[in-house]
Assembly symmetry: C2
Homo-oligomer: 356 residues x 2
């Protein structure tokens, strides 16, 4: 236990502590400015050198406010402006714009860290993977849970047999989107920008991807249902959604997600011999509740909120870019989530089991 | 808050404190002897006067050990033996035998408290309801969660709008049955005795019924999947199961249940404005985790384990029998669970949405 706690924050993925990756940050919403940018500033191997936004005025203003070297517009980015000043891009725009920035970055030979979900549709996500493979540039999808120490320790525990054989998984991710961003016309509610919908694309992806990462098992079949009643959700099918996902080796996963509900995130994995319950799981400080036989422990950890997770993620990405090492959450890993989410939407529409 | 805590154990259902209901207990497994019998002894309005088992020897021996007046065999019960000594029966046999004891009790004019699930099949459960209605004897299904003070307070909170509009429900009930009862030939794994299966019939019913009680909403459609791989489960389809239940007013409920997994019980109800998370929910001392806005409280309560819940249930039942009052969890209430469980099994077999 002492060793386990002392090694809790260990970066077992780390292979270098030398070098710097310089980033252009694309899409300057609150997540990029308030979470990603400070995370890069805190990181060991990263530096933000360029901000990219709709207008050069906005980009320059934010660059000046945050002590970043340059601010350029989207158009300037596509023309290759300031491309000597960065080695990699972080794409934090609405989903349906990811591909075009990845394409330009690939042309410019830059490494790409792209927010999840990868794109608005499977087809566009596939194009992103092909583009990056053809250009031979690193592509990583920004699954920040992978580098949260709590999640890494869970993965080790599961590999070590802590829960026995996994039996079931429950994931919930719900939040009151319209209280957080009081705008009914925001991009997450516009399928042209968000893709298949809002709750599964934006929230459910956390449960799905984190379960895949922890169990090293992918979904093979899904069933689901979803509905929208609030008028702000009239263009998307999933104000609320429920799904059953069968993971490899017959693990039965259920999920609920809503963009119009009380905030709660939980991921619970029950096995034949134990259980790992992560609550909160995806927002706030990841807290582990571990049970086996008749003993339960709760592991609280103060440091890793979303910004701490992003710092770890930027350093993991930089480590791989600097050393040319394999990236775990690469484009093909992200594609599996895109196909799963598409299947969940198909299943909700048809009422049928959709195989993957 | 002071009033709420001081009134936590309140029996708002109580209408009398006078009188005694004398019980014949039918089916003397560990639950009847170790939980139900002490619960009656602790209750205000109940008294165990007759024990009924496979042989008069076993019944007499247990009656003598536990200071109960008489012990008779199943055959003697059907012949009306000792029928002057009891006013009501508690039926705690394997599911597929419930009907025959209810039929005899109804003929004898006795009130019936029958364990859940009501019977092995919908058709037999319907016969039980008709038999009791024709004989005009009270029939209650033993849903012990209804009289747990924690559950009663939750129901009030939900009625008062604590969680806003309900959005989603998650229920899990899992246990390592073969460690608890190390016998691969036990009745819960024999569909002739248990009915449609084992995990949904025996465990899932807690999530389904408690959600119905708390939200006052019934399922309208289900989807599900289930599987069995362990050889002890070869005769039942649901060593593990997952389901989506759509409740009235579009509440999306998901459940997981397994008779071959680490013990865990949780029922979580998320609304537009708050959340009630009950964990543990169905075994051990029901613990409430209440959240609304940015505030969370945990309500721990030492007194109400399963025996405490059963004591409350016996007193509720006795109160209604003595006064002739309406019973909430009557046979028709139980029938809805039977139909829901049957639909979950049908849905798992077909892969289709099954409407209720």
């Amino acid at each position: 236990m002492k060793d386990w706690l002392d090694g809790y924050d260990a970066r077992e993925w780390q292979t270098t502590s030398e070098g710097t990756v310089r980033y252009a940050l694309i899409g300057l919403g609150w997540w990029t400015i308030d979470v990603a940018l400070p995370a890069i500033e805190e990181s060991d191997l990263g530096e933000a050198t360029v901000l990219v936004s709709s207008t050069s005025e906005k980009a320059e203003r934010l660059a000046s406010e945050h002590d970043v070297g340059a601010g350029i517009s989207y158009d300037e980015f596509h023309e290759g402006a300031a491309s000597d000043s960065y080695d990699a891009v972080y794409v934090g725009t609405p989903n349906a714009y990811h591909l075009e920035y990845a394409e330009t970055a690939a042309e410019l030979g830059k490494a790409i860290l792209c927010e999840k979900p990868m794109e608005a549709t499977v087809e566009r996500a596939e194009r992103m993977v092909e583009t990056c493979e053809d250009a031979d540039v690193p592509l990583m999808i920004a699954y920040r849970m992978h580098t949260d120490p709590a999640i890494q320790r869970c993965r080790e525990l599961i590999e070590d047999g802590f829960i026995g054989e996994p039996v079931s998984v429950y994931g919930n991710n719900s939040q009151p989107l319209l209280e957080m961003i009081p705008d009914p016309d925001q991009w997450r509610l516009d399928p042209d920008l968000s893709g298949y919908g809002t709750s599964v694309m934006d929230l459910g992806i956390y449960s799905i991807n984190t379960a895949r990462y922890l169990l090293d098992r992918d979904p093979v079949a899904v069933q689901s249902r979803m509905s929208s009643t609030h008028e702000a959700f009239s263009d998307v099918p999933d104000e609320r959604s429920s799904a059953i996902l069968v993971l490899e080796d017959d693990v039965g996963m259920v999920t609920t997600d809503s963009q119009n509900a009380h905030e709660d995130t939980e991921l619970k994995i029950t096995g034949t011999e134990g259980q790992i319950d992560i609550q909160p799981a995806f927002h706030g400080e990841c807290t582990l509740h571990l049970s086996r036989n008749d003993v339960s422990v709760t592991v609280e950890h103060e440091e890793f909120d979303a910004q701490g997770e992003m710092r770890e993620e930027f350093d993991y990405f930089a480590d791989r870019v600097l050393t040319g090492g394999d990236i775990h959450a690469d484009g093909r890993h992200g594609l599996t989530d895109m196909r799963t989410i598409e299947a969940i939407h198909e299943a909700a529409e048809s009422g049928d089991v959709v195989e993957l």
